[in-house]
Symmetry: C2
Subunit: 423 residues, 2 copies
C-alpha cells in the first residue's frame, strides 16, 4: 500500500508495459535522439515498463542504398539486408547511450539478438515469432529495452528486413508478443487527420479510429502508418496510438470498434494522386473477357487498383481500371496490344486523375452517405468518372484539377471540421 | 590429370585455402572495394579457396565514434560495440555485391553469424573459438566467404569488438580455425621494411621475417600489423604475409625460423618517439625498493617500458625507466611524491628522447652485434643514455635529435640496404 502526498491510500501501482516506436525523423540527429531519451524517461518515471523500437536516423538508409547502387543496380537482396540493417543498429546504440546519460538503465538488441524470427524473403520478410525472454528479464531489472526496427533473422541466421516502414511492424509485433498495454507510434505528425491538412486547413485530428478505417486511410494516401503494422495490430487487437515526437498531445488511438464510436460515421477523406485510368471499350460481353484484359496486365507485374465494368449498349462491355501512374505507359501499351484480338472499339487512357475516398465504419449502418457525397460534388460541378464502393468507403475518380475543391467540399458536407456528429 | 599450355602433364590441382584481410584504406571507397573484388577473383581463378576478413571503410569507425561522443564522453562499452561493429557490416555487404557483379559467388557473415565466439570484454574482447562449419560449406560451393573483421559475440549473444586493428586478429583466427595455407594481410604498405623509409630512404623490404622479429618491430613502432595478430599467428604457426592492396608484389612472409634464414642476423631497426625517461637517483639499495618506486606508477595505470637499475657509488642505487610521453607529467609528479619517503637524492625527467632498437634472431648465435651498434653510434658522437637488451633485440635511448642520424648509421653499419649477409 502507498500513501500519496495528500494522505490518500493508493492502490498498488500498476506497471503498464508500453511499446513505443520512433521513426527516422524522430531520431534524425543526436539532439533528437536525446529528446527521445528524455521522453522515454518521462514515461518510465510515470511507472511504465518500456520497450522501444527505432528506425535508422533519417537519411541513413538512403545513404546506404546509394553506396550499394554505386556497385550494382540490382544488388543481391541478402547482402542488401546485411547493409541496410546497420542503420537501425546505429540508432539503438546511440539511444541507449542517451538513456544512460540521463540515468535510465537501457539495453539494445538487434533483430537477430531479440530474436525476431522471420521468413527468408529478403527485403520484405514477414515476422514469424519473437522471443520475449531476454526482454522480460531486462524489464524486470528496470531496464528500457531498445530494439532495432525493420529487421530480423531467418531460421538460418541470415539477416532479413521487413521492407520500408517495417519498424512500425516491429513495434506492433513486439507489443503483441509481450501483450503490451498499448503500442505507441511516434512520428512527425500528431495523429491521424480527417484529411490532409495541406489540402484542407480545417482538417481535424481524430481522437479515435478503427483499424479498418485506418487501413483505408493509410492505403489511400494518408501515409502515417505502415499498412502491415495496422493489419497486424488489428489482427491481434493491439491498441495502436499515433502521436508526435515533437509536440505534446494524445494523438490518435487506433482500436477496435466500440460503443460511442457509432456517432462518427465518416472518419476522413483520403486521396491518391498517383493513379492513372485506362479504358477499353466495346469488347464482347462474354465469360473470360475480364481475364483476357486484366491477365496480361497482372502478368507484367502491374498492380491494378479500382476496376469498373459497365455493360454497353449492344452485346459489348466497357472496362475501366486504374494503375499506378508510373506504370501507365506500360499498361496502355499492353492494352493496345490486346485490343485487336479482343476486337475492342477503343482504348483510352488518362493520367491526370485523382481518386478521392470517403472512409468511415458508420457507413455500414447509415444510408445516404453516398448520395450526400455525390450531391456535394455535383454542387461544385465536379464530374465523377468512376465510382467504387466497399463496406466502409466510397471512392470516386475525378479530374486531378478538382483534388482540392473535391476534398474541401466533402470535408464540409460531412462537417469533419466539427466534433463528430451524426449525418 | 591436366595438361598445361606447353603440353606438360600437371599434377591434380591443389586447392589452397587462403585467408585474406583488407584494411580500412583498402576498402575506403566503392572503387577500392571493386578493385579488392577483382583481386580476390584473381586468386580464386588461380584455383584457391578464399575467406576474406575486412575492416570498416576508412573514416567510418571514426564517424561512428564521433556520433557517440556527441552524447557521452564515456559511452557504455556494450553499446559502443553495437555501434562501431556496423562499420564492418557495411563493408562485407558491399564487397559481396562487388564480387557478385564480376561473377564471383560470395556470401557475407558478421562476427555473430560465423560465429566468432569471444569473451565479454567489450571493446577489447579475445576470440575463444570460431565455428567453421558454414564457411566450409560455402567454400565447397565455390563461394568466397566474406567475414566482418574486428567483431564477435560472447556466450550471451552480445556483440563484442576486438579493439582497433582487430581485423588482423580476425583473419589470423580464421586462418587458424580453417587450417589455411596462408593468411595474407593486405594493407597500404607493400611489406615489412628494415626500417621506416621516411627516415632512411634506403630501407629495404624484407622477403621473410620471423614472428618474434615481427613482434619486436611492430611493438617498437613499425605499425604494419596488430601485435596480437602476430602473436596469434606465431602461437598457431600460421604463415602470415603482409602485402600491398595497391601494388603487385610478394610482400613480406612472417613465419617460423627456418634454415637459410640464419644468414640474416639483423632484420631491421625500429624506433619509438613516444616515450619519455624518468630517473630517481640515490635511493637506498635494499630489497623492495623497486616495488616502492614502480608500484605507485603501475597503480596509476601508467605502463612502463624500459627499466634500468644501476648500482651507485655508496649504498644507494639509481633507477631509470621510460613511459609513454603522454603520461610523463603524471609519472614525474608521482615520482616526486615518493622521493621524500625514499630519501632519494634527485628526481629527473626527460621527454625529448627516442628509443632505437636493433632487431634480429641472428643475435642469438652471433656475438659482436651490440659492439658494432655502439661503435656505429659512437662514430657519429651519439651519446647513449640507456641500454636494454633481449634475446633478439638491443635498444638504446638517445636524445631525440639523433633519431634520423642514429637510424641511418645503424642501417648502414649492418648493411641493411643490401641483400642479407653475415656480419
Amino acid at each position: 500500500m502507498k500513501i500519496n502526498a495528500i494522505g490518500e491510500t493508493l492502490q498498488e501501482e500498476f506497471m503498464a508495459l508500453i511499446v513505443q516506436k520512433y521513426g527516422g525523423t524522430s531520431v534524425g540527429t543526436i539532439e533528437r535522439i536525446e529528446s527521445v531519451a528524455a521522453k522515454i524517461k518521462k514515461y518510465q518515471d510515470e511507472g511504465n515498463q518500456l520497450v522501444v523500437a527505432v528506425s535508422a536516423m533519417s537519411g541513413e538508409t538512403n545513404r546506404l542504398i546509394a553506396l550499394a547502387e554505386q556497385i550494382s543496380e540490382r544488388p543481391d537482396r541478402r547482402e542488401m539486408d546485411v547493409l541496410v540493417s546497420t542503420g537501425e543498429q546505429v540508432t539503438i546504440a546511440l539511444l541507449c547511450m542517451a538513456l544512460h546519460k540521463i540515468g535510465c538503465k537501457a539495453r539494445s538488441y538487434t533483430g537477430g539478438q531479440v530474436r525476431i524470427l522471420t521468413d527468408s524473403a529478403h527485403s520484405k520478410a514477414r515476422i514469424q515469432s519473437i522471443d520475449g525472454e531476454k526482454i522480460r528479464e531486462d524489464l524486470q531489472n528496470n531496464r528500457v529495452v531498445v530494439v532495432a526496427g525493420f529487421q530480423g533473422v531467418d531460421e538460418e541466421g541470415n539477416i532479413t528486413t521487413l521492407g520500408r516502414g517495417g519498424s512500425d511492424t516491429t513495434a506492433v509485433a513486439l507489443a503483441t508478443a509481450l501483450k503490451a498495454e498499448e503500442c505507441q507510434i511516434f512520428t512527425d505528425v500528431d495523429g491521424v487527420y480527417t484529411t490532409d491538412p495541406r489540402i484542407e486547413p480545417r482538417a481535424r485530428r481524430l481522437d479515435r479510429i478503427t483499424f479498418e478505417e485506418m487501413l483505408e486511410l493509410a492505403s489511400l494516401g494518408s501515409k502515417v502508418l505502415q499498412i502491415r503494422a495496422v493489419e497486424f495490430a488489428g489482427k491481434y487487437n493491439v491498441p495502436l496510438r499515433v502521436l508526435s515526437s515533437f509536440e505534446e498531445g494524445q494523438g490518435t488511438l487506433i482500436t477496435t470498434e466500440e460503443e460511442g464510436m457509432e456517432e462518427a460515421k465518416i472518419s476522413g477523406i483520403a486521396f491518391n494522386k498517383d493513379e492513372a485510368k485506362l479504358t477499353i471499350r466495346g469488347v464482347p460481353d462474354q465469360p473470360g473477357v475480364a481475364y483476357k484484359i486484366l491477365g496480361p496486365i497482372s502478368d507484367a507485374n502491374i498492380e491494378i487498383d479500382m476496376i469498373v465494368q459497365n455493360v454497353g449498349s449492344d452485346d459489348t462491355t466497357d472496362f475501366t481500371f486504374t494503375v499506378h501512374r508510373s506504370e501507365y505507359a506500360k499498361a496502355l501499351e499492353i492494352l493496345r496490344g490486346i485490343a485487336g484480338e479482343l476486337e475492342a472499339r477503343e482504348v483510352k487512357g488518362d493520367d491526370s486523375i485523382v481518386k478521392i475516398s470517403l472512409v468511415g465504419v458508420g457507413m455500414r449502418s447509415h444510408a445516404g452517405i453516398a448520395s450526400t457525397m455525390f450531391a456535394a460534388l455535383a454542387k461544385e460541378a465536379i464530374n465523377i468518372q468512376m465510382i467504387s464502393t466497399s463496406e466502409i468507403k466510397v471512392s470516386v475518380v475525378v479530374d486531378e484539377k478538382y483534388l482540392e475543391l473535391g476534398v474541401r467540399c466533402l470535408h464540409q458536407a460531412f462537417q469533419l471540421d466539427a466534433d463528430p456528429v451524426s449525418v
